[in-house]
Symmetry: C2
Subunit: 559 residues, 2 copies
């Protein structure tokens, strides 16, 4: 049903040599620009050039860069430049064709992929001889109350930057906040999930705030709280007990509160709610836990387990001849796999890179009628940086901690960072950070969306009488009561509102402070529209204006 | 009418020494964190400390940093890091209290300033003994058709970053765009205004695209067009004719088309419209021209001329005792001023910094009953960088061009950049850029607003039959026709739409491609709502859903 069924133009420098029997080059489409996708494309183009086989490789990715996940936490603290931890895909794989689009759907029966439109509102359709799926996983808070609205993921460069900006904003506000309780709430930083990612994030956050406080002279260290919530007995379940113990004591000694055998259950506008019901007031809740399959993978009719695509040890998807999967979205059997005790490669960068290379080789082998090779990689080990020149490292039977493990972390990841220019930039940034103060510039790029959602728990106020009105709210689910303080110290209930009703429009229509308090009675999910967007809509959309004005009139001066 | 009339807490380290006769410290509120504001605060805190006078200085600024304007064009090309050209205000003036807020209004009668709310929806009210206004100027496209929607300013760091991201996006799209005409349109970059800012921006843009093309192998240099539009006979009216001539020839030789004696009149979704009616297809229109007074200054009842506040040579606002103005928002008489031939300081950084210092000294003098000093600064000269190690410089009677002027530009501005850490970071970045390729990472932070405006000229299509639907449009002004292609090559008109009517909802409600073309008949101003926001609104706002559904039904299958 799409009008624009055009293929991308052929590269100006087509791969020389032999293609398919028909004479045209073999066309491979790679979905996803993470480690798996980019390294598969890289190996494909390089091997094809070396063997003089005509292969055309297309990479589809939403961003034009590949994020180097291990260094994302460093973006939070600003110890490396914002763009230094990511590599432009077209620099890593200059011979592939990059499409900066989102994958919308895959038609496995007709060997084609539909991608989102770009500047022109036409879908892009790519046909393939072989398809490599490397779409990784996504953050998905569905099913966890209030998390989508109030918890922050740290999966992408955008996430890391947003978290950094948020923390700087918090420090700015807290510095001039006169009420101690509000200030303490602002300065409570919670990270849920004690795996690698969570541990590195809390370590970088703690380090950054500690160093930045030199410029926020009205905030004392004692006002700040750092909390790491972990579901197990000890953090870092991925590594040896001894190393995990070291990391845990180190963080605790620095003042990070570690809550073990505890889970995050829900989030609300002003606090985190734990499994046992504890509520911790906070403005910063980072959740590293939920990792879900990409919705495109979810929609594919391929054999899967726990949302990951089942491949055989050659990286080819079971029961398929020209579909392959690598990286976090694939379930790759490793040495020792048996029917009764299946064993799969863990979702790490080192595995993704090796899976990608093997997948590329096997695609070329399959096209040439050669025999396919099987995946054999046992993993090299694990590394984690804990901030302040401390880390842990585990290779086979070797266990290291402290300064030496931290140096190893920096050396290994600097070597792995693709591109000599990135290596130089990150190396320089690390060097400069030894003696320069941390950066505290809050970068705001564009305004954020005017329509968003919020969740409130019973008893919480959405806004209070006298507040400035900057948003209108529509109730998606739950009940709220509208109350106003009476002359004495009491309160008068003016109305109860439910699903589909809205409130908060009076202050915007009359440009006055809120003249009543709106409080959550039963768990409230709200859609909120920012002042500017609300005014634009109401000015130009007749029906909407009339409807709001009718309600406003009927409410009279009650809200 | 505000409930939260709280003052900021006093600094933990109050200035020692003598304050007002009453014993409390002298309170100075500085509005604006540009050169004028920050340097006034810096001098005030430093002089007060040196003289042991108790002064409390508050700075109000929307951002927590001061942008170093002369280096903004370098952000476009990425030759310095994103945050390197801006300095955190609290690092430059550690002894002042920074409020990261917007100024909402000033009550001159009661000596108080109201600032926008922060995390808490309460206004912040600051009382002052002396007020320093340094709010600079703002970009304002009002009155220029289509400019607010489709032209890009380059005034703030956010503007520069947004332009950079846009250019990278253009290159990504153009690299895989099969239609030559669309590709050429995408690759036409227009800058309006041939003053310092416009010249530096076109030079950096040209340089960046030229260097980046190495990574976009399907784009040839010949596809790219760079156009500088200037209203005078020769660019750079600020400098000597000879130097301007040099700059103009240099840019022309590199391939920049310079359109002289020409003006930008309007902008539409796909082209720029010049004063003589010429239409140039483009996706990138940068306008450096319109500079308007800040709306807060506009609203103040103070003596003004051309929107700028009239001060006497001591920087004090005429007819006021405790209100001062410096920088671009002030009109400062300079040596040689006479009633009949008034002469004022130009709006440059070097003047703002000197005005600020004088203003600070005079505030302290006024408080101590000493005599005030008058402004005497003739200006040092001008510098402009033209990219590729070329520049121009003019000091008194000295005129320089080429490599030596460029070196001078770098040396002078590196020295002027506040903070040793910034100097080191920028110096390092410049050094690395001598041999590393330019960065082409497109950083997207947050999604942009879902409600925006667009302008179309008669004959332009808003969207075409078969396009993917990603927005709904509401007509603010103008007329549009809905047409559908008939079986032959003709077109059938289905409807004419006017002000207040909307279109484009069918594709969104039915998740299908657009089933008709909508074309502008009379100059169209549209409000457009992005798919996600539209769906959220329509799902939860009963009236809006009913209204859209009613219209959709009555339109049947006509759109």
């Amino acid at each position: 049903m799409f009008t624009a069924l055009f293929a991308a133009p052929a590269p100006q420098t087509p791969a020389a040599g032999q293609g398919l029997p028909s004479g045209r080059p073999l066309r491979v489409v790679v979905l996803g620009g993470g480690f798996g996708g980019v390294y598969a494309a890289k190996r494909l183009t390089e091997e094809a050039a070396a063997r003089r086989v005509a292969v055309e490789v297309h990479v589809v990715n939403r961003e034009n860069y590949m994020a180097f996940q291990p260094m994302l936490p460093e973006v939070i603290s600003g110890s490396v430049g914002v763009a230094d931890t990511v590599s432009p895909i077209r620099r890593v794989v200059p011979r592939a064709v990059l499409h900066m689009r989102e994958v919308e759907s895959v038609d496995l029966a007709h060997n084609r992929v539909t991608c989102s439109p770009g500047y022109r509102p036409k879908s892009l359709i790519l046909e393939y001889d072989h398809l490599v799926i490397s779409l990784g996983s996504v953050t998905d808070f569905r099913g966890m109350t209030g998390m989508a609205e109030h918890a922050r993921p740290v999966k992408t460069l955008g996430d890391a930057l947003a978290l950094r900006n948020h923390v700087i904003h918090i420090l700015e506000e807290a510095d001039t906040e006169p009420e101690v309780e509000v200030r303490r709430k602002m300065l409570t930083f919670i990270v849920a999930g004690g795996g690698f990612s969570g541990v590195e994030v809390i370590a970088e956050l703690h380090e950054f705030v500690r160093r930045a406080l030199g410029s926020y002279r009205r905030i004392s260290t004692g006002d700040c709280r750092f909390i790491l919530i972990h579901s197990g007995d000890i953090i870092l379940p991925e590594v040896d007990h001894e190393l995990a113990q070291y990391a845990q004591s180190l963080l605790a000694k620095r003042g990070v509160e570690i809550m073990l055998n505890q889970r995050l259950k829900a989030a609300a506008a002003d606090y985190a709610i734990l499994a046992d019901g504890t509520r911790i007031p906070t403005k910063t809740l980072v959740a590293t836990v939920p990792s879900h399959p990409n919705p495109v993978v979810d929609a594919l009719d391929l054999p899967k387990e726990r949302g990951r695509i089942l491949v055989d040890p050659t990286m080819r998807v079971k029961e398929r001849t020209n579909v392959w999967a690598v990286g976090d979205c694939a379930l790759v059997p490793v040495a020792g796999w048996t029917e009764t005790a299946p064993k799969y490669a863990p979702p790490t960068a080192q595995h993704a890179i090796r899976e990608a290379a093997l997948c590329a080789d096997n695609i070329l082998a399959a096209a040439a009628g050669r025999e396919l090779a099987a995946f054999e990689f046992a993993g090299l080990g694990s590394l984690a940086a804990l901030g302040r020149r401390r880390g842990i490292a585990q290779f086979m039977n070797l266990k290291l901690s402290g300064l030496i493990a931290w140096s190893m972390w920096r050396t290994v990841y600097l070597m792995k960072l693709p591109g000599i220019d990135r290596k130089i930039r990150v190396g320089t940034a690390w060097f400069l950070n030894l003696f320069l103060p941390p950066d505290i510039v809050q970068l705001r790029v564009g305004k954020s969306s005017g329509v968003s959602q919020a969740h409130f728990e019973p008893g919480q106020n959405v806004f209070e009488e006298g507040d400035l009105g900057d948003r209108v709210y529509i109730i998606i689910k739950g009940t709220a009561e509208v109350v106003r303080s009476t002359n004495g110290s009491g309160e008068q209930r003016l109305a109860t509102l439910g699903s589909g009703q809205y409130f908060g429009e009076m202050a915007l229509l009359n440009r006055a402070p809120r003249n009543a308090t709106v409080r959550c009675v039963e768990g409230l999910d709200l859609l909120s529209i920012e002042k500017g967007d609300f005014n634009a809509l109401i000015t130009h959309l007749g029906e909407m204006r009339e409807s709001f004005e009718r309600t406003a009139t009927s409410r009279g001066r009650t809200q």
